[in-house]
């Protein structure tokens, strides 16, 4: 029995219509905000007013604009981290745990390096965070390369394990003796990231994140290793056939990915919190996956997506303060945007055609 045919079908096109290309980001934004407008209406708020606070108001003053950059800093780093892995076809969803590994290292070095000149202490913290994130990423990477254990599952499980490690540290040896709060002692002043602009929260971590973007661009497009990474990402058998050591390439990319996620943790500890705390990251590791995808796994894309998501995070707080719309509107918007973009991506390559 023939199943009833849907009257339209997707037909592959080699060249997307030219007029479509610049329209796609616009369409993504429009559809995303149409969907989230429903949520805003459910809170009995006016969507237009909400979108003003959400997207325009953060850009209208210097203070809040700098805050957008502050919020985009960890996202840029996790976005770069995830891109390194995904471009190589290694699905590292463990950036969240790797970020915390780096944060633990930073909180520890921030105490140990008290009194060391900042010019030495801060690079040491960044290296320490990189190594810690790398170490946490090493286990699933080795399991993948040596034993063919699926990295998606192990990196996700390692995020849960890391959350318990952080909790154990904060409730145990590092519990603040004076306040009793589950937070590590404050890091020494000479290990805190300096402010880029006085009396703002914008810190040296933003520069580090920009360097991260530049490094991603350089490695992916200008080095032979980047070429190998992309070849492995496009297809392992073909890469193997071309003489590329797939296991080694995957392992190195996975370790760079973990290391950069670790630096995101350093940046949050040394630039913003000055303590290790349990909710240091608002899911930045997972948001990194969205950013890498929306940025189509290239440096410029990741840069733009991080800035935009920094705006959404800042705007969500503004809407929440001004209109009482729950702050989680930001997270919902980011997830919806990812799904809408995934849907749109196909419109670029396929055309909807009526069946003959």
């Amino acid at each position: 029995m023939e199943a009833k045919r849907f009257p339209y079908q997707l037909v592959k096109t080699d060249t997307p219509p030219i007029w479509m290309r610049p329209l796609i980001p616009v369409l993504i934004l429009l559809i995303t905000f149409l969907i989230t407008a429903g949520l805003i209406l459910s809170t009995r708020a006016n969507p237009f007013q909400a979108y003003y606070y959400f997207l325009i108001s953060p850009l209208s003053s210097q203070v809040s604009f700098l805050e957008v950059l502050v919020k985009s800093t960890p996202l840029m780093l996790t976005g770069v981290a995830v891109t390194f892995a995904f471009a190589t076809g290694y699905y590292n969803i463990g950036a969240e745990g790797q970020l915390y590994a780096g944060a633990i290292a930073a909180a520890w070095l921030g105490i140990v390096l008290a009194g060391v000149p900042a010019a030495i202490a801060i690079p040491l913290m960044i290296i320490g965070g990189f190594l810690a994130g790398m170490a946490w990423a090493l286990i699933p990477a080795l399991l993948k390369v040596r034993l063919a254990v699926d990295e998606v599952v192990t990196t996700l499980l390692m995020n849960s394990i890391m959350a318990y490690i952080v909790s154990a540290i904060l409730n145990g040896p590092w519990r603040d003796p004076t306040s009793g709060w589950p937070q590590s002692p404050e890091i020494a002043e000479n290990t805190m990231f300096f402010k880029l602009i006085p009396r703002s929260r914008l810190h040296f971590g933003f520069i580090v994140a920009l360097v991260g973007i530049a490094v991603l661009w350089f490695i992916l497009t200008q080095t032979s290793f980047g070429l190998k990474m992309r070849a492995v990402g496009l297809g392992k058998p073909a890469a193997q056939f071309a003489g590329i050591n797939v296991g080694r390439t995957t392992l190195i990319a996975a370790l760079i990915s973990g290391g950069i996620a670790g630096i995101a943790g350093v940046s949050e500890v040394a630039g913003i919190q000055f303590h290790l705390i349990g909710d240091l990251s608002a899911g930045y590791g997972y948001t990194g996956v969205i950013i890498a995808t929306l940025g189509s796994l290239n440096a410029i894309g990741v840069f733009v997506a991080s800035l935009f998501f920094g705006l959404i995070d800042t705007g969500a707080q503004t809407v929440s303060r001004a209109m009482g719309v729950p702050v989680y509107l930001g997270e919902v918007t980011q997830a919806v945007m990812l799904l809408v973009a995934l849907g749109m991506y196909l419109l670029q390559r396929y055309r909807i055609v009526r069946r003959a």
């Binding site: 029995m1 023939e2 199943a3 997707l10 949520l39 459910s42 809170t43 699905y91 969803i93 399991l143 034993l147 063919a148 254990v149 699926d150 998606v152 599952v153 192990t154 996700l156 499980l157 390692m158 995020n159 849960s160 394990i161 318990y164 490690i165 909790s167 154990a168 409730n171 145990g172 899911g283 997972y286 948001t287 996956v289 969205i290 995808t293 729950p326 702050v327 989680y328 509107l329 930001g330 997270e331 919902v332 980011q334 997830a335 919806v336 990812l338 799904l339 995934l342 849907g343 991506y345 196909l346």
Partner: protein
């Protein structure tokens, strides 16, 4: 010691129930060729929707029903991305999880504000079976959904997948969709059906936590159980009975740490060690089973007619 063991066995079945439900759901999906990373979010949303509806309507049954319905709907949404559009399954699944986490927290805040103690409702009660027997009483006095899971849903999944025409279609679209298509069967329809069943089971697993075990909704209610379920499916080699055994191993480890915590022993290690233990055991189990894992051949591959 006897009491300890009896309590441990009783708790193992209780704790395994949501994991087994979700893992069986994931088995249906993956057998049809779709890795559904939306599982964590679908469980989370199911736990919340079940709780919200039960709280507002006063009916636990309606809550459970709506939770399952939400799972079916979002299983179908996963299908839209991975079957109809054929985009990357990892990314779309994770996107669905993030969407559900955000939606749940947003809606929770809307209905319950920023209160620090979670709201609670009177939950489903355990069945009282052989209450006077000190050994069988505690072990057999489980929730009805636990009985349904182990006595009906798992055997039924085996029967459907291995003994029915529909199950053969599910397994075939996960192994060789071209052949299924050539036989005149719609690959998308079978995949959508598997995802819908899977989503319903995942959401039921989430709702078990809020409507049976806790009678409350907390922000950390699922805390990685969905990811564990995915690991268990690999461990169980996509076979419902072995998946159930994997669920019991995780449940046993989890129950053990709960019992040890409840005993209030002064241990030389922090209590988080025990909380993390089931996740560590899951990774080890995955490594051991990983060598023999035979993934459905068409897993992660979108099917499109040329």
């Amino acid at each position: 010691m006897e009491v300890f063991l009896v309590n441990l066995i009783a708790a193992t079945f209780r704790v395994s129930t949501p994991i087994v439900l979700a893992a069986i759901g994931e088995t249906y999906s993956e057998r049809a060729g779709i890795l559904n990373l939306g599982i964590e979010g679908i469980m989370y949303f199911g736990a919340f929707v079940g709780f919200l509806i039960a709280d507002k309507s006063g009916s636990l049954w309606l809550g459970l029903l709506m939770a399952i319905l939400s799972g079916i709907v979002f299983g179908l949404l996963m299908g839209f991305f991975t079957v109809t559009l054929g985009v990357n399954q990892h990314v779309s699944g994770l996107g669905i999880t993030l969407l559900h986490t955000g939606l749940t927290l947003f809606t929770f805040r809307l209905f319950y504000g920023g209160r620090s103690t979670p709201p609670s409702i009177p939950s489903f009660q355990t069945l009282n079976i052989l209450q006077n027997n000190p050994i069988l009483g505690p072990i057999l006095s489980q929730y009805w959904l636990t009985y349904l899971t182990f006595l009906v849903i798992v055997p039924l999944a085996w029967w459907i997948l291995y003994r029915t025409n529909f199950g053969l279609k599910i397994r075939s679209v996960g192994e060789n969709p071209e052949a299924v298509d050539a036989a005149g069967i719609s690959v998308p329809a079978v995949r959508y059906a598997a995802l819908a069943i899977g989503g319903g089971l995942m959401a039921a697993g989430g709702a078990f936590l809020s409507l049976f075990q806790l009678g409350a909704f907390t922000h950390g209610i699922i805390s990685g159980r969905g990811w564990v379920a995915i690991a268990i499916v690999i461990f169980g080699n996509w076979h419902p009975v072995r998946v159930m055994l994997g669920g019991l191993i995780f449940g046993g480890t989890f129950a053990l740490q709960l019992r040890l915590q409840a005993m209030g022993l002064q241990l030389p290690v922090p209590y988080e060690t025990f909380l993390a233990l089931p996740y560590v055991v899951t990774i080890i189990a995955l490594v051991i089973a990983g060598r023999n894992a035979s993934y459905p051949a068409a897993l992660l591959k979108p099917y499109r007619r040329e």
